[in-house]
Amino acid sequence: MIQELFIAALLFFGAGFVLPLAVRSDRRIVRTASYACTILASVLLGIPAIAVLLGSGTVIFPAYAPAGLFSIAFVIDRLAAFFLLLIAVVSACVALYAIEYSEHLDGGSRRNLLCGCTSLFILAMVLVVASANTLSFFFFWELMAAASFFLVMYEYDQPATSRAGIFYFIMTHLSTVFVMLGIILLWLGSGSFALDHLADTPSYLATGSFLALFTGFAIKSGIIPFHKWLPYAHPASPSPISALMSAVMLKVAVYGLLRFLLDVFSPELWWGALILVFGTASAVLGVIYALKEHDLKAMLAYSSIENIGIIFMGIGLYIVLGTAGLPFLATIALLGALFHSLNHALFKSLLFLTAGSVIHATHTRDIEHMGGLVHRMPKTGALFCTGALAIAALPPLNGFASELLLFIAFFESVTVVEPLVKVFLFLCLALFALTSALSAACFVKAFGSVFLGMPRSPESAGAHEVPALMLAGPGILAAACVVLGLFAFQVLTIAGFTIPVMPDIFLIGLLLLMMLVLTYAVAFFASPRTSRVSGTWGCGTHFQEAGTEYSGHGFSEPLDIIFSPLYRTRIRNERTFFDEHGAIFKSGTAEIRLLRVFEEYLYLPVARQFYRIAGAVAKIQNNCLDTYMLYVFVTILTLLVFLGWSA
């Protein structure tokens, strides 16, 4: 049954891909049909995922092996089922939203390509997660990368987009290279492509393979310092695609890392410490960069980096505690990481979709040109607010539930015997707390400057609420955020993990509601119910202008200054004088800019080196047919000699 449903889902995804490409006419009905296929497929995918997750047993599909070693096989165990569920929920909501959204895009029949590729992209991610061996994993991984590249390049005629697309293409293939390297090293070690436990592999091969795979997955999931493609690619692509990439594709990379760590390797302590360090760095730096950002979608992209960092912290903690002989705490940390993956998928796609609505209504991504939208788009505002509360990890929403699990794992780790590990964990804990407090500040800024106050541009003043379909998708996600938050304890219990130290958030929710009702009742009965409207107090000015209110930049200024050593502002001024003493000023230029540390000190030097090597290699390409014939001749000759030698 599960097998049939899964295959049906795959077929529907395929239909969603083929339909808009086969029927090339630029009509709404074609695209709606394609999205409907995607939604249906997601629902069909969700059912087997839930079934397996609740313990109906691992499902193994017969392998399809066209040639020898190369075989494609699928298996759905609980880990895969969890990620399939995540993909299914987010894809369904995103597709629901995109039905209406894609109609408002420019591009004529190019929009058919958009919805077709969306379907293909989701299909590829599903197949990556369901893959049973490294070869098919790698094959679909590459398919996913290609499909997502086309989606990012949707507005290819914009220079910014094509630059972002190329950047993304390079980074994602760098990731593929490392994953391939890791898989090859694994094959050298074990001699098979199966995702089985490594038994008697030399440890240097295992370590090398782990490092390669970790780098590959870190690039794909945007771990600092490999994160730079996220803030470029997300603003460039259409909002549903940003939502899918941020919420799901990054999680597929997390899945990859987890799959290899859990099933293939037997991790050592320093692996865990490595993942924890990278996770912590990404979490803290991600949110600090997010605070500085005033492009709404780039800000969300940086916030994704932060959340992926938190997930990696959970994974690292899992390994550290696991090797320290504390399996129960390790499980809590792993659950925290997994639960946060799901939660981040939900609230980040919610935020990206509502951000898409806002951008659609105001035609700008700059939060300084928004403001006052809560009066004009009340429903979108409420949905965004839910997402902001969830991502700021506030109870009783889901973001809090998963961070709580990580906090519990950290706090309980005081029983870890090694004192040095303890101090290391405490430092990570402090940075983790800093991260979640900063993300609260970041989303107060986001919600405050986008929705509250007065409109700061005519577009923002004339914005209207989006159509119902564009509210339905985010609405489901927001509801999921609330439900998963309130019933976190119960959900974990149903999934088979009872954690006695985990507080029952539903009870807290009830208490909050009770106190709210109580306060309201007291306020309602004990005080006069009159209220009137009068201008905001502005120190006695006659009228108030939008220019005087606190802007997003102003809001984050204190934190900008506090963290200024991290932002690395470059101030450059050059002056020339008439006299040699430098007294009579002639002319000068001054410039203040943000140093793009990673780009300028890491990416560009590496890129330059490669450029140099490529230049050297290019010399053998001289565009003359005879030369190429010579190459062929030499190659055949070499092969002949090699054959004779080895025979």
Binding site: P395, V414, P419, A441, L513, M515, S531
Partner: protein
């Protein structure tokens, strides 16, 4: 949920609501004395709240539902957080109530809405207050979590109820380290309740205000709710310190006499702490905003030191 626990919920909520304005008034009185003024009566806070409750509310034309919901959400979150800190009677914890992380995040929930309300009316004062409040809250957070982690190490639990119960069982200091943790808790209290040298609760001067700036647009009963919740938060953090350092008299069984004595003792100890806070504030000058990070770095260093010593030595 046992009957004991329900009684606890009622007693704790009622008691904290009753005494919270007292401590805030007392601090104000002490500060007035040290400045050579007579100062308002100690009970002035109660009169203020009663007066504000009878006034009508004025909303800005730019204000949205955030402005209307914030006083209620804020009060509710702080009151739920108040259930996490037993003042006079420590029952068995139920369903994770008393979890120290949840406690912190309930305070964060209240702060989040307060900051949004500051931005809501489009006033630059409110925005300034929100921005500074969120910044300060963010950079003190590592210190807070480290102090709570130190408490978790000392008491082998991260439930406030369990901590209080074990400190009440000893009656005095569990270990001398608690004194150091107490100092850290005091710093956190000063920061979280926006007092000198971090913020000046008395002024509406734009250069100094943080918390007051945020609630500048609140009027009538909404303002009353905001002020009351601030007082409750102050009392909560004070209770956390008091019941860990001088737990003498804290009731662990539910008897009328025990609770009565505990309540009297708590008011005495709280008044003492309020006087100390008042004197501390009077002896300090308000720091420049951008000097605060180095102050917090000191506090963080101090708390980490406690952990290191506790772990290693």
């Amino acid at each position: 949920m046992s009957l004991d626990f329900i009684i606890y919920l009622i007693i704790n909520t009622a008691f904290i609501l009753l005494i919270a304005p007292l401590f805030a008034g007392l601090i104000r009185k002490v500060k007035a004395w040290t400045q050579g003024r007579q100062g308002p009566p100690v009970l002035q806070q109660y009169y203020n709240l009663a007066k504000l409750f009878r006034k009508e509310i004025i909303y800005s034309p730019h204000a949205s539902w955030i402005m209307r919901a914030t006083p209620l959400v804020n009060m509710a979150a702080i009151m739920v957080a108040a259930l996490f800190v037993p003042l006079v009677f420590v029952p068995e914890p139920v369903g994770g109530i008393g979890n120290i992380i949840l406690f912190l995040y309930l305070l964060a929930l209240a702060r989040f809405f307060m900051a949004l309300a500051g931005l809501d009316a489009g006033s630059s004062f409110g925005g300034m207050g929100s921005s500074r409040e969120m910044s300060i809250a963010a950079i003190i957070e590592p210190t807070t979590i480290i102090v709570f982690a130190a408490l978790a190490i000392v008491f082998k639990s991260f439930n406030i109820f369990v901590m209080f119960a074990s400190s009440a069982a000893t009656g005095a200091l569990t270990t001398p380290t608690i004194i150091l943790i107490g100092i850290s808790l005091f710093i956190i209290l000063i920061v979280e309740t926006s007092r000198i040298p971090v913020d000046n609760p008395e002024t509406h001067l734009e250069l100094t205000m943080i918390h007051e700036g945020m609630i500048l647009e609140q009027t009538g009963r909404n303002l009353a709710l905001m002020e009351l919740s601030a007082a409750v938060k102050l009392t909560l953090l004070m209770a956390l310190m008091i019941n860990l350092i001088i737990p003498a008299g804290l009731a662990v069984t539910l008897t009328a006499a025990g609770i009565f004595i505990a309540a009297i003792l708590f008011i005495l100890k709280g008044s003492l702490l309020a006087v100390i806070i008042g004197l501390f504030e009077s002896s300090m000058a308000k720091k420049r905003f951008f000097q605060l990070p180095s102050l917090f770095a000191m506090a963080f260093f101090f708390s980490t030191l406690i952990i290191i010593i506790e772990v290693f030595a």
